[in-house]
Symmetry: C2
């Protein structure tokens, strides 16, 4: 498959992800060092801040830290401290500030305040010379390399891998996680050429879709958020992420035959809830798209986009996001939009 001119940047960056993950592994010892500093704090909370894809990766960190290190991680409210001036005691907190460019204004301001309030502040960024890196005590390289398409792809997957590596390193489990990331990069390299034609076919059937729910639970809620954001920004589809349980508590009433639902099914403890949600979707006549390592387990799916299972279950989101990234590229093209440059967006968002 020759890379086409329109959307070549986005597709190129999607394909580059296995290499980006491998680059990250070259910095494993930096992650161990910072994890050691976090451990010394015995943190009551690990606070993550970021916008867009960075905030989606933060959703993943709730599970990575909760399951690998037993720490409470949360996506903190930036506005609570930056705009409303809340005075919180952060001496038992670690802050992880996520910004591809390291220039997001309110993330920088949050990090400055948090450091003054006693938190250990860590910048996770592509730019080690950025203002965010400057205001934080510790800097972790993302090593995703320059990203040219406006929609983040390799930045997101390296953020997810970086957060898993950091959480694993916090309990001396870093080597197992690093090996898992390497194996996942290999699997991603294998599955990409298989997924590309499957997703192109799906894109044609969705060319006139205006709205969608994307369902994922547990660590895959991050994936549901990230796939939704890609479809919103590149394809103008009003895609909303929901947990399997959210769906039952109201939104299911909005579904009909013109409102497809994408369900991410992993072979883990959440599968029962996702299977139940998928059955409700089919029950009201909505089209079901199934992806993930357990995609084949969802009955009645019109489209099945399976990905292989990595050796470390918690790393599954690295693979399950790929069909969504590819769909964003293919569907934008099917709709006559430029996947690389969505209207009204710029790569670095400096607005409040």
């Amino acid at each position: 498959m020759t890379a086409p001119a329109v959307g070549a940047q986005l597709l190129g960056e999607i394909r580059e992800q296995p290499a980006a993950l491998e680059r990250l592994l070259g910095y494993a010892s930096d992650y161990e060092d910072v994890a050691r500093r976090m451990r010394m704090r015995r943190p009551a909370t690990v606070r993550l801040v970021g916008h867009g894809s960075s905030d989606n990766a933060a959703s993943y960190a709730v599970y990575a830290f909760g399951l690998l290190s037993g720490w409470t991680a949360l996506r903190d409210s930036i506005s609570l401290s930056v705009y409303y001036g809340a005075e919180l005691d952060l001496s038992h907190s670690c802050v992880i500030a996520l910004s591809q460019s390291g220039r997001t204004p309110d993330v920088v301001e949050y990090a400055e305040r948090a450091r003054a309030q006693g938190a250990l502040t860590i910048a996770l960024t592509n730019d080690g010379d950025s203002v965010l890196a400057e205001v934080c005590e510790a800097v972790l390289p993302l090593a995703a390399g320059a990203e040219h398409a406006v929609a983040a792809t390799k930045t997101y997957t390296t953020q997810v891998a970086a957060l898993a590596l950091l959480a694993g390193s916090a309990t001396e489990d870093g080597r197992r996680i690093a090996a898992g990331i390497q194996a996942t990069a290999d699997l991603m390299r294998e599955v990409l050429p298989e997924l590309e034609p499957q997703v192109s076919e799906l894109a044609m059937t969705l060319a006139f879709t205006g709205r969608m729910f994307v369902i994922g639970r547990g660590p895959e809620f991050a994936t549901a958020r990230e796939i939704s954001l890609k479809l919103l920004e590149t394809c103008r589809v009003a895609a909303e992420p929901l947990t399997a349980t959210d769906l039952a508590h109201g939104p299911v009433a909005a579904l009909d035959g013109l409102f497809p639902v994408w369900a991410i099914a992993s072979d883990d403890a959440s599968l029962g809830a996702v299977r139940e949600a998928a059955a409700r979707v089919r029950g009201v006549g909505a089209t079901l798209i199934a992806s993930g390592t357990a995609a084949a387990e969802l009955e009645g799916a019109a489209h099945v986009l399976s990905v292989p299972a990595p050796p470390v279950g918690l790393l599954t989101p690295l693979l399950s996001v790929v069909p969504g990234q590819l769909l964003a590229w293919a569907l934008a093209r099917a709709k006559g939009l430029d996947p690389d440059r969505p209207v009204g967006l710029s790569k670095v968002t400096l607005a409040l």
Copy 2:
């Protein structure tokens, strides 16, 4: 205005909200007692769990506890502990479990586990004899009274008021908050008859709308989430809540003239960000609906639904949600749907 047959329950419960808030105030001393017990814990985190509207009220609690008591409150992941079995030390945590019926299965299970892991567990429910009340150490009455429409309204506003009262009582500020709730109930009683005809007019213009963003920042993000959920469940509108900043980080690219945006503007520190988001919405030709205490400050809005400012700024969300509740009722009727009984939903969701 005579209550019509179709949707009479929902409209009746919307109108009953001032009285429900006053009933809650009758239990102020219970809230003070529980706040005292929370204070003795010196909690590192206040963890809120609930689904649907209860989870939306939990979004509000992040600001109520952060600003009134200086505590870190978070919407905790239920799946992290209930499905994935994370072992967290909760001895320095308070848990507030929100469930109208007190019967939501995974909320009950979360509370049981959290209590075993050392947390102070508090049930906030309409049913003091429920299984949730039984498994928690402390029970706070919501006092909203029986709610018959499937879509929650008075349960949501009493939850928001209850969380403000609890957070205020934690720093002996309970009396000021209680007085503020009383004043807000009075303002709500005054503004309801003014809003009803305004919202009915808006409903006619939205009868063929399939999607919408609802923008709110800070404490009003809870309002944005709750208005979105009402529109999803009763009107089949794919309404997605976003912070003002979320909008700029991607979703703005999806907007066009058929994709209206509802912006909640409060006269507080977030107004600048909301005003900026509103300008971007108008810039791409999307219809802007402005609500809140500072609705009139958003330039170029096609519809303005103003609410009065309560004496305690943090209580504004009690009023700013009302136009959205009324729109859910009016728009469902305009679309020929039954506002009281959305298809596929039941009042108590027992599914996982």
